[in-house]
């Protein structure tokens, strides 16, 4: 079986009679004329007037869009956001709207660089707005730039960018890669700050979200929806545009083999794979990263819908499920994962150990509907080198989190109580978040909370091929080979466990019955 192993690839054997493999579905066909589809969606929105009817000459229009964390890996030009934003702006130009701001809705993520913004919105939009200061990254720590809107009936504060709060219309341009994205989470999270986010980005909420990929069963989303209600009641008008993409990561290019099932590999595929593996193994980590992060996926747009937030998101979720949902019968004792080189928080960066935890126990573990793929008390085996490498610019607070917090505890509740606030209010992290390209000080905590449901559910986590000291600091067990890992796991789940290999990426989501 092919396992992703960070920036490398590994082949592992799984016991034949007890193992099953979940492959991602084939990519759906993309829309024939995406630009026309976008124009149609804008003119025929769901539960809303057409966009052109909402625009008038001297209005304040704010267009917010998803940040660098979507889609993964970045898609080939033109990015969907560019297509949608250009269509929206063309309508705005027709209506003579001049007061337009474009905001990268990155919440507490790192600021995007010029190059990344150009990639997302296109050169034309960038050159039109960035020089006038009308295209910028959201700044959740700007003392003058955030407005407290109110509190939900559960006492959760709702905070949003002042520009958004004072706009006549917000157009949100989203890319729904996984079913977690979109809906009110776009605005209530993406354009918000620590004050509001802490009400759902916490251990309690994450443990009640089963999973956070399934909106109906996700406390994270319920909280966001409550905050969305407050926004709506405060008169903030959001025109939501959501898009979905297929899971065509590799196209017909040389890496096509990675998307194929192993038994379908032709001689040529096997040769390509061996060459790719040998090549990657021989390169230095920095070179590997440069090559892999340079990859642009040929994602095709499978749907676009616009209009009222909640109604739009229903349709979007259906489209995501169409592409990704795989029905699976029964849980398993051991869940095996091959973690790739990228997660939402290390685009053009380094996948540090905390992100490894978040990708495995946060994202991949939670890609389920119904019940987790692995039974309670089961074992998760992930394959990743887990080296203690951090990007000094993007992840400064992660380094301290690793050195200080993880040296003390791996219990998310203890972290929340003892360390979170100090990291969240640290002046240096704030400074770097606002002026450099650093994730917010509190972000590593959220990464750990993302995995808190899995930590509670699992009987153990084994990392194959991981740096032993680092893996131990994460509170996991290191193993050098898959058979060692299965051996270690047998201490927890017995001699003859069932094994499920959930092959991601390309992304898929399981519906476990």
């Amino acid at each position: 079986m092919l396992f992703h192993h960070g920036e490398q690839l590994r082949l592992e054997r799984l016991p034949a009679e007890r193992s099953r493999i979940i492959y991602p579905p084939e990519p759906l066909a993309g829309l024939d004329d995406p630009d026309q589809a976008i124009r149609d969606a804008l003119e025929n929105p769901i539960d809303s007037e057409p966009l052109s009817a909402l625009l008038f000459a001297d209005m304040r229009l704010t267009i917010a869009f998803d940040d660098i964390s979507l889609p993964l890996p970045q898609m080939r030009r033109p990015d969907i956001r560019q297509r949608v934003i250009e269509a929206v702006l063309d309508l705005a130009a027709e209506a003579g709207v001049t007061d337009v701001h474009l905001i990268a809705a990155l919440a507490l993520h790192r600021r995007m660089t010029e190059e990344e913004l150009r990639h997302a919105v296109g050169d034309r939009v960038y050159d039109s707005f960035a020089p006038r200061g009308q295209l910028y990254n959201h700044d959740a720590e700007d003392p003058d730039g955030m407005t407290l809107i109110g509190t939900t009936r559960h006492g959760e504060e709702v905070q949003i960018s002042t520009r958004v709060a004072t706009s006549d219309l917000i157009v949100y341009v989203n890319i729904n890669l996984v079913s977690m994205d979109g809906g009110w989470k776009s605005t209530a999270t993406g354009l918000s700050g620590y004050q509001a986010l802490r009400h759902h980005h916490n251990v309690h909420t994450m443990r009640q979200s089963r999973s956070f990929m399934d909106r109906e069963s996700s406390e994270l989303h319920r909280s966001n929806w409550r905050q969305g209600e407050v926004l709506r009641d405060a008169g903030i008008k959001v025109f939501q545009i959501e898009t979905t993409v297929n899971n065509d990561l590799y196209g017909d290019g040389p890496l096509k083999v990675l998307a194929k099932r192993e038994w379908e590999w032709t001689t040529r595929d096997r040769a390509t794979f061996m060459a790719a593996k040998a090549g990657l193994d021989r390169l230095s980590p920095a070179q590997r990263r440069r090559i892999l992060h340079g990859w642009r996926a040929p994602y095709a747009m499978t749907s676009v819908q616009a209009g009222e937030v909640e109604a739009v998101h229903e349709v979007t979720t259906r489209h995501v499920y169409d592409q990704q949902l795989v029905p699976v019968e029964g849980q398993t004792d051991i869940l095996a994962l091959g973690l790739p080189y990228i997660c939402p928080y290390n685009v053009n960066s380094i996948m540090n150990p905390i992100l490894v935890m978040c990708l495995g126990l946060g994202y991949f573990f939670n890609l389920y509907k119904g019940r987790p793929l692995v039974r309670e008390g089961g074992v998760l085996i992930m394959s990743h080198p887990t080296t203690p490498e951090f990007h000094p610019v993007h992840h400064p607070s992660y380094i301290d989190f690793f050195e200080e917090v993880l040296a003390e505890t791996t219990d998310p509740l203890v972290m929340e109580a003892q360390f979170e606030e100090r990291f969240a209010t640290d002046e240096w992290y704030r400074h770097l978040y606002r002026t450099s390209h650093a994730y917010h000080g509190v972000h590593p905590f959220y990464m750990w909370y993302w995995g808190s449901h899995a930590l509670e559910h699992l009987g153990g986590v084994v990392v194959v091929g991981g740096d032993p000291a680092t893996v131990r600091r994460l509170g996991f067990r290191p193993a050098s080979t898959m058979s060692d890992a299965l051996e270690i796991a047998s201490d927890v789940v017995g001699r003859q466990p069932t094994i499920t290999y959930f092959k991601n990426p390309p992304l898929s989501m399981v519906d476990v019955t």
Binding site: A286, N348, E389, F390, H391, P392, P396, E404, E427, W428
Partner: protein, 451 residues
Amino acid sequence: MRALRFERDVVRFGAARLASGLRPGAGSRWGPLELVTDDEPDLPGPDWVRLSPRLAGICGSDLATVDGRSSRWFEPIVSFPFVPGHEVVADLVPDGSTAATTDATTDATVDGASSRVVLEPVLGCVTRGISPVCPACADGRLGNCEHLAHGDLDAGLQTGYCCDTGGGWSTSMVAHPSQLHAVPDDMPDQAAVLVEPTACAVHGAMRARVRPGDTVAIIGAGTLGLLTLAALARFAPECSTVIGAKHPHQRDLARALGATVVCEPGELARAVRRRTGTQVLGTRGTNGTRSTNGTHGASTSRLTGGAAVTIDCVGSADSLATALAITRPTGRVVMIGMPGVLRADLTPLWQREIELVGAYAYGTEHPVDAEGAPTGESRRTFDMAFELVRAADLGRLVSATYPLERADDAIAHAAEAGRRGAVKIAFDLRQRPPLPTSTRQTRTRPPSARN
């Protein structure tokens, strides 16, 4: 008597320097240090007494000397040939007898009282028979004595660097009564031998003039680093201490001795930053997405604020640079570790008005209050050291002892103490005649544990 004697021998000195470049501590095998059998040193004056050392520690400055790395600064205040060893607990030898005739395997007593003493090795005016004494000695600041090459004795800043007094790495030496501190009966030799280095640490901690609430960073967690930590914890309990320790046993000891934060040496700057809530300037790789090769601790180049006091117990160019980078403006850097010749960029010292303070030896301490004004009381550093050794159970820092015959092993062990899980290595001179193998090796790790 048997002694390890250090000769003036340029060729072997060079050999020691070369050999120690390959492996620290190798200077003992190739250098001018030799085990000799010789006459006992004469008593230099009528008051002087003869001592029979029991335990004698190996200090960082001893290692530098043996490895041929000590500064030429010492040339006029050292006289050859000398017997090293200034961390000494010894038995007083009764008048008229020689050390060789004393049965040292039992605790020798004179008139029923303990005759065990700790040596305060500085050879000041009183010891040298100089009268009137220099202003420093008059003030009790023995370490600052101006007459280190005058008077009755030949040149030598301390016992252990003077040809007239002998030294602790031998079976017999002489001392002036003003140098001696009686060891209480209930204090074991291991504890007593640490009094002298502890006094150095106490002096360094007092030189730091720490105020309540200050953050103090300590670079290095060898004997001096740990002792300084203990001294701060006892005599400046209202400060918080951040210590960078490389080896697991050092980290455990640092925690046990009261460190607020214990971290890897490479993480020290970040730990100080977290503790003091300051910012970092000049992070490498600010332009885009350049990556580091895993040395994440070195990625921060300097703090905008930082520790009020940084105590450098290493004394290398790197440690000084680190100290200057993590000390806040108008803060203080105290050098306790013997620095030697090193290259340093002193721009931060100038721009941030940092005080660079040396801390050598001991004498009399004048504690200051929270405002930095003297409290008026004064105590002998050695008295404070005795108190601290007892209170913090510092005897546990002696990791292994060796007989003189195994000097090469002892010095190699001391030079690699951290890596080999040790802190303080000492010579054990109580067993006489020396057995071919040491009987006190129980606390030494087997050589296989070296890596």
